[in-house]
């Protein structure tokens, strides 16, 4: 299988605070990686580096074989123009902890906005696809509602549909269920499981150990800006080797 995402020795600092201290990760096409770890471990920052919302200080990230945010010419890195970075981001979907739906647009317009404005696809086709996607996340009847009228779980499902509308090669999930009421977590996880089954490449930062155990091909445990341990869910969750992993899991399980 081909590599979809490849991160090599990624470093990121905010001022003097080094948040990522050399993170490596490889996700094959169709693979699902779950990133676990305590808050402040740098897992969200790492995810934001993958679509260049944060600039790396060192290391490199490739998505589908292309360097993210830079171009290599004659052994030298050149920063990409904003337009080119935007182009790259079109194929990297992202779902945020706090949904970030556009509150001034209806649900349908939220999903249609990027394909019709950014890719300038045919409006009729985009509408059909948006309807199908909303149907897939179980919200076809909420199409003409505004996000403010939906529950958190429904909003997050719309956010997933919005990201999928761009037909991304990879989906990044940044703690997608952390802002939800407990009874709403399940519906979002169901949608994500469906995506994984359909072969979407996914990187999921989460605290849902159950989800990781069930869906992930690989579980990555991060702490203090480094990958402490990674492996199959059964290895990491059932039988962690590192002390830090054990300590974390004993608190959340």
């Amino acid at each position: 299988m081909t590599e979809m995402v490849r991160a090599e020795n990624v470093h990121k600092s905010f001022g003097s605070l080094e948040v990522l201290k050399g993170v490596d990760l490889t996700v094959p096409e169709g693979g699902v990686s779950c990133v676990l770890g305590p808050s402040g471990s740098g897992k969200s920052t790492f995810l934001r580096c993958i679509n260049h919302l944060e600039k790396l200080n060192a290391g490199r990230i490739l998505v589908d074989g292309d360097l993210v945010g830079y171009r290599e010419r004659g052994g030298k890195l050149h920063e990409m123009s904003e337009r080119d970075v935007a182009k790259q981001r079109q194929s990297i979907g992202m779902v945020f902890q706090r949904f970030n739906l556009f509150p001034h647009m209806t649900v349908l317009d939220n999903v249609m906005e990027a394909p019709s404005r950014v890719k300038r696809e045919n409006k009729g086709e985009v509408r059909e696809r948006a309807r199908a996607l909303l149907d897939r996340v179980g919200l076809a009847e909420k199409m003409s509602n505004y996000p403010g009228q939906l529950s958190g779980g429904q909003q997050q499902r719309v956010a997933i549909a919005r990201a999928l509308a761009m037909r991304p090669k990879v989906m990044l999930f940044d703690e997608p269920t952390s802002a939800l009421d407990p009874e709403l977590v399940g519906e979002v996880l169901e949608v994500m499981k469906g995506l994984a089954r359909d072969g979407m490449t996914m990187i999921v930062v989460t605290h849902e150990i159950g989800f990781a155990r069930e869906v992930a091909d690989e579980v990555v445990f991060m702490d203090g800006g480094v990958v402490v341990e990674k492996g199959s869910p059964s290895e990491i969750i059932a039988n962690p080797q590192q002390e830090r992993t054990k300590a974390f899991l004993s608190k959340v399980l």
Partner: protein
């Protein structure tokens, strides 16, 4: 024994309680009513107001002063001046606000300096300065910058790189000078309003838009500004109304097609002082009332998806749709099974 469930229990009678009395409010209303009656009495019994002068006939064979030709022309001037200077102010204000928020230090400093200057100079002073700028420059043109200097550098005398130019006295006289002065001043205030609006939008909004592959200008036009408008519109309404009144300052440019100036002219001709002032007051009240209605609708437009009342209405509709029935508000009071 298990507790009876809600459905098994009879619904108690609706509460019919005697409402709390508010005697204080009634006293206040009585006082206000008396004061109001006194006010109306003062206005309508004092012949000094000369209502017929204002509304019906201010001189033999002429209409009331509010509706005479020069005053109506002045009214049109006031409205146009407000419109044009607000358009300049809003467009330029948005540009300056965006520059101010730019990560580039030069752009943001220039924007800051602009705001600093035009907020510090009184509009009256600015209007007079613009009326006199033709003393400094005789011609104003558009073309190659520094054309004379470049010409001199290559030894050409009087090299003219202007595409077109116009005499300053033609351009910067009267109406245009007043419009530019008010517009530039307004832009400084609008820039601050727009900046506050943009900054009020959650960072997550532009992040989500950027993550979808939108360009910076798309994020601004499609996501940030439409939401910022909710914050921008109410203070902009203030600005428009303030501008209507500030147009009276351009009398010093001088601009003659302006409402207050025209009424003062009538005053000077007829020696009737107070009714002319009252006529101006009534016109300003009418313009501002119309503007408030416009503002209401603009606010409603940009409030889509927000607002307590709107939200409640939409919630109700959503609940009704979920229950499968199209229940109209009138029959929600009836006990449905």
């Amino acid at each position: 024994m298990t507790q009876p469930t809600q459905t098994e229990r009879a619904r108690p009678e609706a509460i019919k309680a005697v409402p709390v009395r508010h005697p204080g409010r009634w006293v206040a209303i009585a006082v206000l009513a008396v004061l109001g009656a006194m006010f109306l009495h003062l206005i309508f019994t004092n012949s000094g107001f000369r209502w017929s002068f204002i509304f019906l006939e201010y001189a033999e064979g002429k209409r009331g002063v509010m509706f005479t030709e020069p005053v109506l022309e002045g009214l049109r001037g006031t409205i146009l001046l407000t419109l044009f200077s607000m358009v300049i102010g809003i467009v330029l204000g948005i540009i300056i606000a965006i520059m101010r928020l730019s990560p580039n230090k030069v752009l943001s400093s220039v924007a800051w300096a602009y705001t600093w200057f035009f907020r510090a100079v009184p509009r009256l002073v600015l209007a007079i300065i613009f009326g006199n700028l033709n003393i400094l420059w005789t011609r104003i043109g558009f073309g190659l910058p520094f054309d004379k200097q470049i010409g001199a550098l290559f030894g050409i005398d009087n090299f003219d790189g202007q595409i077109f130019s116009i005499r300053s006295t033609d351009l910067l006289a009267g109406f245009v000078a007043g419009m530019i002065a008010l517009g530039l001043s307004e832009a400084a205030y609008m820039a601050e309003i727009v900046r506050a609006g943009i900054q009020s939008i959650d960072e997550g909004q532009s992040e989500a838009a950027v993550a979808l592959g939108m360009s910076r200008s798309q994020v601004l036009r499609r996501v940030v500004l439409p939401q910022a408008m909710r914050v921008i519109v109410p203070p902009t309404g203030n600005e428009v109304i303030a501008m209507v009144k500030d147009t009276s300052l351009v009398a010093y440019v001088p601009v003659t097609t302006e409402l207050f100036f025209q009424l003062q002219q009538v005053q000077a001709r007829t020696f009737v002082v107070l009714p002319c002032l009252v006529a101006a007051l009534i016109w300003y009240l009418i313009i501002c009332s119309v503007l408030m209605v416009v503002q209401h609708f603009v606010e409603r437009h940009f409030g889509k998806g927000y607002g307590a009342a709107g939200k409640a209405r939409q919630r109700l509709r959503a609940i009704q749709v979920e229950q499968g029935g199209r229940v109209t508000p009138t029959d929600t009071g009836e006990g449905t099974p």
